[in-house]
C-alpha cells in the first residue's frame, strides 16, 4: 500500500499544524492584499479600459482561485478514495463551498467588468462561460453532499463526482472555447500574461497570491471545523450508547 502522507492519517498532527498555519496564511493574505491594492490603485488608467481595469485585480485572482480550488477538491477527493482517510474527505467537503464562493466572485466581478464596454450585464465570453459551468459543478458537488446522509457513502460518492468533474472540466473548457470561436470571435478579457503592461502585472500577481493565501487560511479553519464537527458527533454517539 502506498504510505499515506503523514498529516493525512493523523488528525492530531493536522490540528497542531493548522493551529498556527491558518492565522499565518491569514496574515500573509492581508499583507499581500493591501500591497496589491495600493500598487493597483496607484497605477495609471489603462489607455483602453480606463479605470475599470481596477476590477481586473479582483476578477482574475477570483477566476484563477475558482479553478485552483477545484484542483484542491479533486486531489483531496482522490486521496479520500485511495486512502479512505476522513481528513481527506473533510478537506474536500470544506473546499467546495469556498470554491463556489470564489467562482461566484469571479462571475460577479467579470460581469461588472464587461458591463461598461459591452453594455450588457452578461457576456458569453469563453472564459466567463467556463467559469459559469464550473460554478454548476460546484453546486452539483454541494447538492450531492447535502443529499446523502450516510457520512462514509457521501464521502465516496462525492469523491467520485469530483473526479468525474475534474476529467470533464478540460473538455467543458475546450467545448466552450470551440463554441465561442463558432459564434463570435471577440473576447472581453485580454488580461493574459505578457500582453499586459508590468505596472498592472505586479499588483495582479500580488492579489493572486493574496487570494491563494486567504483561501489557504479559510480552508484550514474550515477543515478544523469539520474535524470538530465529526468529533462532536462521535462523542454524541458514545454518549447515547453508554
Amino acid at each position: 500500500m502506498i504510505p499515506a502522507p503523514a498529516f493525512l492519517s493523523n488528525p492530531e498532527r493536522f490540528m497542531a499544524f493548522s493551529r498556527w498555519a491558518a492565522p499565518m496564511f491569514g496574515l500573509i493574505a492581508a499583507i499581500l492584499g493591501l500591497a496589491g491594492l495600493y500598487l493597483g490603485f496607484s497605477a495609471p488608467d489603462d489607455y483602453q479600459q480606463g479605470a475599470t481595469v481596477r476590477i481586473m485585480f479582483i476578477h482574475v485572482p477570483a477566476a484563477w482561485l475558482s479553478m485552483f480550488v477545484y484542483g484542491c477538491l479533486a486531489v483531496a477527493s482522490l486521496l479520500s478514495l485511495i486512502f479512505r482517510h476522513a481528513l481527506a474527505d473533510a478537506a474536500a467537503q470544506a473546499a467546495a463551498p469556498l470554491g463556489a464562493g470564489f467562482t461566484f466572485l469571479a462571475l460577479v466581478t467579470g460581469s461588472l467588468w464587461g458591463r461598461p464596454m459591452w453594455g450588457t450585464w452578461w457576456v458569453w465570453d469563453a472564459r466567463l462561460t467556463s467559469v459559469l459551468v464550473l460554478f454548476l459543478f460546484y453546486l452539483a458537488y454541494i447538492a450531492l453532499r447535502a443529499a446523502l446522509d450516510d457520512e462514509a457513502k457521501a464521502a465516496r460518492a462525492c469523491a467520485i463526482l469530483a473526479l468525474v468533474g475534474a476529467v470533464n472540466l478540460p473538455v467543458v473548457h475546450y467545448s466552450v472555447v470551440w463554441w465561442n470561436s463558432l459564434h463570435q470571435g471577440a473576447s472581453v478579457f485580454r488580461a493574459d500574461g505578457p500582453a499586459m503592461p508590468p505596472v498592472f502585472l505586479i499588483p495582479l500577481l500580488l492579489m493572486s497570491l493574496a487570494y491563494m493565501a486567504a483561501f489557504g487560511a479559510l480552508w484550514l479553519v474550515s477543515i478544523r471545523g469539520e474535524v470538530w464537527r465529526r468529533r462532536a458527533e462521535a462523542a454524541a454517539l458514545r454518549a447515547a450508547r453508554s
Binding site: 450516510d150 457520512e151 462514509a152 454517539l237
Partner: protein, 213 residues
C-alpha cells in the same frame, strides 16, 4: 426427491472461515471478534436480536461490504472468484419485478447465475412452481414469491448459501419440504449459513451475535 450433483463445484469454495470479523453499519460498530468455521455439509443458524448485524454479516461475507477488521476465507479459494460464482445471497428483498412473469424472472436469474439448461426446470419441480409460471410476480402470494426466490438457489447450484430469514413467509408444509432441499444441498457437499429468528427445520448448530460491548 431432488438429486443435486454433488461435488461439481468442488474447486470454487471448500470451506468458510471467519477470523476475528468486526462489522459496523452507518459508523456504528455492530459486533467484533467473530469466528466461524463452516465445512462442506455443515449448516449454521445465525441468531441475534434485530439490528445485531445478521444481515450485515451475510452481506459482508458475500463481499457487498467490507469488514472493519478480521478476514473472511473460502478454504483457499480466491475471495473474488468465490464471491462471483461460489455463493448465493438470499436477502429480505428478492429483487423480483412485479410486472414480469415467474417464467421470465426464473429464466433470467438462472441464466444470470450461470445455470445449465435444465437447471431452471429442476428448480420448478423441486418448488412446485409449475402452475405459477405464467403469473406475474405481483399476483403471487408471499409464500409463492419466496419459493420463486428460493428456486434461484437450485437453478444455478453453488456451494455456499447465505440465507437471510429464508423461511419466514413459508407455511409449515413448505418449511418441511424446503428442509429436505437443504438436507440434499448439504449431502451434496454444500454449506448453509442462515440468519433466522425461529429454528431451522433441520438440525443445525447456532451462532449468536451479541451487540458490541
Amino acid at each position: 426427491m431432488l438429486k443435486l450433483r454433488p461435488g461439481r463445484w468442488a474447486g470454487v469454495i471448500t470451506a468458510l472461515q471467519l477470523r476475528g470479523v468486526a462489522v459496523s453499519r452507518g459508523g456504528r460498530r455492530l459486533f467484533s471478534g467473530l469466528d466461524l468455521d463452516l465445512a462442506p455439509g455443515e449448516v449454521c443458524a445465525l441468531t441475534g436480536a434485530n439490528g445485531a448485524g445478521k444481515t450485515s454479516l451475510l452481506r459482508t461475507i458475500a463481499g457487498l461490504s467490507a469488514p472493519d477488521m478480521g478476514d473472511i476465507g473460502f478454504g483457499g479459494a480466491d475471495p473474488g472468484d468465490a464471491r462471483q460464482g461460489g455463493l448465493h445471497l438470499l436477502g429480505h428483498l428478492d429483487g423480483l419485478k412485479a410486472a414480469r412473469t415467474t417464467r421470465e424472472e426464473l429464466t433470467f436469474w438462472s441464466r444470470w447465475g450461470g445455470a445449465a439448461s435444465d437447471g431452471a426446470d429442476q428448480a420448478v419441480t423441486a418448488l412446485a412452481l409449475g402452475g405459477l409460471l405464467d403469473l406475474e410476480v405481483r399476483r403471487l402470494s408471499a409464500g409463492q414469491r419466496r419459493r420463486l426466490a428460493l428456486a434461484r438457489l437450485l437453478a444455478a447450484p453453488r456451494p455456499l448459501w447465505l440465507l437471510d430469514e429464508p423461511l419466514s413467509p413459508l407455511d409449515a408444509a413448505w418449511r418441511a419440504r424446503f428442509g429436505a432441499v437443504m438436507q440434499a444441498h448439504l449431502a451434496g457437499g454444500g454449506m448453509i449459513l442462515a440468519a433466522v429468528h425461529d429454528p431451522l427445520p433441520i438440525p443445525a448448530r447456532s451462532l449468536a451475535l451479541e451487540a458490541a460491548a
